[in-house]
Amino acid sequence: MKKYSVSTPEGTRDILFSECVLRQGLNVGLKTLFSRRGYHEVITPSVEYYDVFLDSGTPIETESMLKLIDREGRILVLRPDVTTPIARIAATKLSAIDTPYRLFYFQNVFRSDVRHAGRSTEIMQAGAELIGVTGIRADIEMIALAVESLEASELTDYRLEIGHAGFFKAVAASLGASEDKIEEMRRVVEEKNFTALNDILKDFEESPYTAALRKLPQLFGGAEVLNEAETLIDDGEAVKAISYLRSIFNELKAAGLSDRVIIDLGLVNEINYYTGVIFRGYATGAGGAVLSGGRYDQLLAAFGRNMPATGFAVNMDALCECVKKPEESKLSEIIWYESGALREALSYMNGKREGSAQLSAAPDIKEAQREAESMGLKLTCVGNGARKL
């Protein structure tokens, strides 16, 4: 019986004291930012029907969804992401409201993962979605918001990398490879696995496309990457993707937001889900991405309303790891009140720095004195008799 009564389920944890303060601070910072940019908060249920995710085309594997069965035998899942429920809302509940929708959320998501790998099952996410508008200005708005989110979080250092699903798709399509081969290539480009990529490309006739693909794992860095990519290829769609990224970069640069923005044309994760720009944020102190997002123009159609959309989510747990913990405010004083003087004691506490004062629960003033002495704290007494003391 004792076995499961003292620990939390694997992948979950208790969050205590200064970490809560830190989270709260980061949450407030991001909430303020999102609200200032005209985004509105939504809260979705912790459980959803499995079908919401099953047919939506989200890149979350069904194995990693935590499932429950309801009274009628229907399968529920603890929400594995928030974007899909938001797409459900936008496609249904919001249909009477004019687009675009600017929405944000602060919610935990649940993903079961391999055992003992140090990954979380419950992850706190903050995110923003811009639904119902396509085009470069929407993408710029979202990427700028991502940069501002990282900027607002007081990280030691960070990078936001931007890629475009269209670049790889266009180049790979020009090769005339089978779907399986393209997926194989996509995977090795994602891993920046030069050796495996070269092996796959051996089966294809040399062309500007094979040359461009061969270079793809190295095509990350500053804006110069775009120049290099342009010399490699003159195909319509691929060039369009490059100049699209260049326009975004230039706009960010003019806004003074490009210092930590990098380009990675080899960013091809989940390109069957993302339909345009893809971006990820990294920060000193986190081994994985702290932010990820992009354009997903096909998701809404799965809920019966074909609308373009873009957005991102910040992994707040990972972000917290990268930010210096605030100092816990120290207790310096306890307050003992005479019966009838509670109001006075409470208003006295209101004037103190948060966390610096507590009420004493001692039954009499002598006990309160002993308590203060043993803890090395100042004792303040409130009430008529106390004043006489």
Binding site: F194, P217, F220, Y282, T284, G287
Partner: protein, 215 residues
């Protein structure tokens, strides 16, 4: 210049890796001495080396406490998830094979097959790709024993020369994959410490070319 921490696989790959780093211009002499130290700062460089077991190399690199790692493709296939695999170092070569008892007709039966292996994930995905439903039994020690004792119909294992298989009456019937040592990089490190990591990788690449030219 930021420090770059590299996790090396202890044992089989260790000597060759250190030789490569030496050729790349790093002084690894402290690592050659017998000691119980686990972390080494290479003199006159920003490189720090950690010695670890192969699966741990992957854990350290995935979590970003090490920026780079040197580990066998076998471990990557079994344990790997999200990191960049940027270089085939060319040494530590061996093969993953499917081996069965001599004379055994592995495929031509409707009975579901049992496979003994140390590499459950590798075996699983190999047979998944063949649309074959097999039962996998994870064995920690000498896998060759399992078919001999009648526990399994075949094994999926690493083979260097094939002597052990032969001596136990087993024959390889199919290659699963070729294996060699790989350089892996944490995804965040690749972006946050691009300059330092590329500098190191270039030096290793140059040293590898010297190796290939037989110098």
């Amino acid at each position: 210049m930021s420090n770059v921490r590299i996790a090396l696989t202890k044992g089989r790959l260790e000597k060759k890796t250190l030789e490569l780093f030496r050729k790349a211009g790093y002084d690894c002499s402290e690592l050659n001495e017998k000691s119980r130290k686990l972390i080494f700062a290479l003199p006159d460089s920003n490189i720090e080396i950690v010695l670890a077991k192969a699966p741990d190399v992957i854990a350290y690199v995935e979590h970003g406490v090490c920026d780079l790692g040197v580990v066998g493709k076998d471990t990557i296939m079994e344990k790997g998830r999200s990191f960049y695999e940027v270089m085939d170092l060319g040494f530590g070569k061996c093969r993953f094979v499917l081996a069965v008892k001599k004379g055994e007709n592995f495929y031509e039966t409707y009975k579901s097959r049992k496979i003994a292996t140390k590499y459950a994930e590798v075996a699983k995905s190999f047979f998944d790709n063949k649309n074959m439903d097999v039962e996998i039994i994870k064995i920690e020690g000498s896998v060759e024993l399992a078919p001999i004792l009648g526990l399994a119909d075949g094994i999926v294992d690493i083979v260097e020369t094939g002597t052990t298989l032969r001596e136990n009456g087993l024959v390889p019937i199919e290659d699963v994959a070729c294996v060699s040592a790989r350089m892996i990089v944490n995804q965040a490190s690749m972006k946050m410490k691009k300059h330092e990591i590329q500098d190191f990788l270039k030096k290793c690449e140059a040293a590898l070319e010297v190796n290939e030219n037989g110098e």
